[in-house]
Amino acid sequence: MSKKHYFDPEDLKKFGNIGEWQKPMADKFFSWYGEVFKEGALTEREKALIALAVAHTVQCPYCIDAYTTDCLAKGSDEEQMMEAVHVAAAIRAGSSLVFSTQMMNHAKDMTM
């Protein structure tokens, strides 16, 4: 590997190339992906905000760049985008904290 870092923003442009090594699966993925983000019961703008929040949860720098641009293009502002990230962060934090009930149960079982 010639590069000294793992993530290169230019690689995002190559996402479509994943079909070079497995075209039928890539075609199905991109077709489904395109369908998912079309306006349906949710607007495209709402879906972009969800994608932005999930991008932070899965910590994908490509997705964060892509859906920051997409959220802005679809009319969201910084306040809405940050609220979406807080939702993701709250679920992530809550999912750790909710396990403390197990810790509490266990601690209560073994202490006076």
Binding site: E39, T43, E44, R45, T69, L72, A73, K74, G75, E79
Partner: protein
Amino acid sequence: MASRHSDLADTFFQLKVLNGKEATDARFPAFSEVIKQASFPDGRLRPTRIEIFQVNVGKLCNQSCAHCHVDAGPDRKEENMSRENFERCLDILARYDIPTVDITGGAPELNPHFRWFVAECRKLGKHIMDRCNLTVVVSNKKHHDLPEFFAEHGVEVVSSLPHYSALRTDAQRGDGVFEDSIKAMRMLNAVGYGKEDTGLKFNLVYNPTGTFLPGNQAALEAEFKRQLKRKHDVEFNHLFAITNMPISRFLDYLLETGNYETYMQTLLDAFNPAAVAGVMCRNTISVSWDGYLYDCDFNQMLDLKVAAPNHLRDFDLEALERRDIVLNQHCFGCTAGAGSSCGGQVA
């Protein structure tokens, strides 16, 4: 740019940048070459029929927006249309069947002949559009009756509002602009603008507050309507989504922030052959404050005059409708994505 003596205030320098000869090494395929794949095999673009007479009455404005392609502002007091040139416009409008007069600036209402010109156009039975920046309505007591004036003359009001949030709007148009814009929208709504069944059209213009392309126009319109009604109880009819052109202050911003090449590449990647046929230069003629004729307001700001008799005093409709439209690299801004014009998306 003019007030700070920037090189880019010189349109020659802007054209050098756009054609890859200055400030950047980037060279992009020529627009005239690219449109050959879009049913224009000779790389030339010609008018359909002139239906819109767009008059840029001057560069004087009460705002100094960061993206303004006119480089307008409160200091641009000299470049404003004279009564003599307005009269030339009226002669032409009386002579020819050009149905729409689109008045722009600067803030057109600051030109001392504005109200007289609107009234005369109305007498000629023209459909009148005024590109009103909204804040001018509340900027001075003498402009407070503009909504009533517009209503009386049946003027379609078209106003820039880059976002339904103060944060995004003020970032582009200046501190306090959003709040004043909402006040002006309430005044327009109060006389019936933007309301169903009044016939008083009030449309908003959205342009991205950064280096991205506008999203779907219908979806943006729906979101603007919902948010402006919910948070501010104001209404409008339609939203026109416009792409930022890589000229003037926006070009300056792109160069300053190192985004020029990426933005041009974004425009090229989004080139939509279907958008070419609907670009506004095919049915519009643009007039400058000093009476010169251009294919569009952007060519006007780059001082690319029409390839035909090019002043109001030599106006020749037949020659204008036979002309080749002057093309350059900024034209990629009108053909990206769903296309862009003063009336929004074109494809």
